[in-house]
Symmetry: C2
Subunit: 222 residues, 2 copies
Amino acid sequence: MATQTEEDYIKAIYKITEKNQGSASTNAIAARLSTSPASVTDMLKRLSSKDYFHYEKYKGVYLTSKGIKMATTLVRKHRLWEVFLVDKLKFSWDEVHDIAEQLEHINSDELITKLDGYLGYPKYDPHGDPIPNEAGKFTIRSQVSLFNMNANESGVIVGVREHDTSFLRYLNDLNINLGTTIKVIKHIEFDHSKKVLINNTTEEVLSQKAAHNLFLKKNKDI
Amino acid sequence: MATQTEEDYIKAIYKITEKNQGSASTNAIAARLSTSPASVTDMLKRLSSKDYFHYEKYKGVYLTSKGIKMATTLVRKHRLWEVFLVDKLKFSWDEVHDIAEQLEHINSDELITKLDGYLGYPKYDPHGDPIPNEAGKFTIRSQVSLFNMNANESGVIVGVREHDTSFLRYLNDLNINLGTTIKVIKHIEFDHSKKVLINNTTEEVLSQKAAHNLFLKKNKDI
DNA sequence: ATATATATTTAAGCTAGCTTAAAAGTCTGT
DNA sequence: ACAGACTTTTAAGCTAGCTTAAATATATAT
């Protein structure tokens, strides 16, 4: 059994390599775990005998299939617990991350199997992120960033790129949630913001940054 | 914030003093936590500055009100999670202890408040043990051990004294659960066992040990 | 190509929590 | 009241994971 800290390292490496194609640097891991680069080097050396990843001095680190399995299991547990917190306990989507971060370390395969069934085998978490199945496979969905949509196109919100609390609360204020319909009214060249129609009722302007963080399933052209 | 280990120590002291009126000995704590007496002394010394308990060399230890608060909160969390596991996830009452032992360390007041509401503010866990409220108060119930019931008396199972897996599985085999009706047919002097009628259908003999471990709410005499 | 900046590793040392072995205190029976 | 048994504490030392400071690699800009 891996310790909680070991799990945190593996998941951090997974999240970093997911973006940075390839390997995770000492500094990136340290930043993600709010610890020092020296601690990371120390840990990587101690852990490298456990076969979760390949480590070469000064070259960074990448996960083995064993490490990927552990990481996707953690992601699966995290996202299932988030569904539980939002769907059953009625937490808001901006409140669940830290609690799920703890719950993902609970160790019981039977628990996760039963929780999955109890929740109705969800494919996506409350932020629209896919929940890997037991084998670690994700359900892929065709989606596009609002930033890449043109005037007169519309779609339904299916996910958010980043889930920091301030962004999610901002969306709450705008009444934007998963399932919300968005229609692009116009693109503003000057600062790349977009004027949009939310749920066929309210007009708002979304900044480039906000638009970039929203994923939609595009409606077929009418 | 207390570490998980600190929480385990406080809960162990609480459980021991609950039975042994007064204080918990080093050996008793060590036995409960499967660690060495030397580790316990070490820990008690380091922790005694945190005001959870009074410690005097060679005299054992007893909780302060701060320590009792922590312990009852842990008991509350443990038992609420057990209700969740049995009522919602359909675990059997003999499978939930170890998982709840992990879940009780999850840190979020809001989570416990919402879980409590979601479960319908239960007063007892799946073994019939009372769930302390937020203030640490237990709901007391009038109950009697089956061992102390006489021939022709009957009642309904409301709790079990010990919850070790083998006992709970034995009860499963006998179709005895919370809510089961038991009528004492006769007391066998020789070995203090009891012949009983279960749910008005099956006759069984229960040993002194088994009878001692079962709590019933007695039916009024007819 | 070399100086400078940045990234990484090494070294030394800390705390929490554990262990075993030995020392010291407390209890019990005669 | 004291010998022997049991309990508790002390002492020394271990591992996991952390820190800071210094040393070493690597990358970059001229």
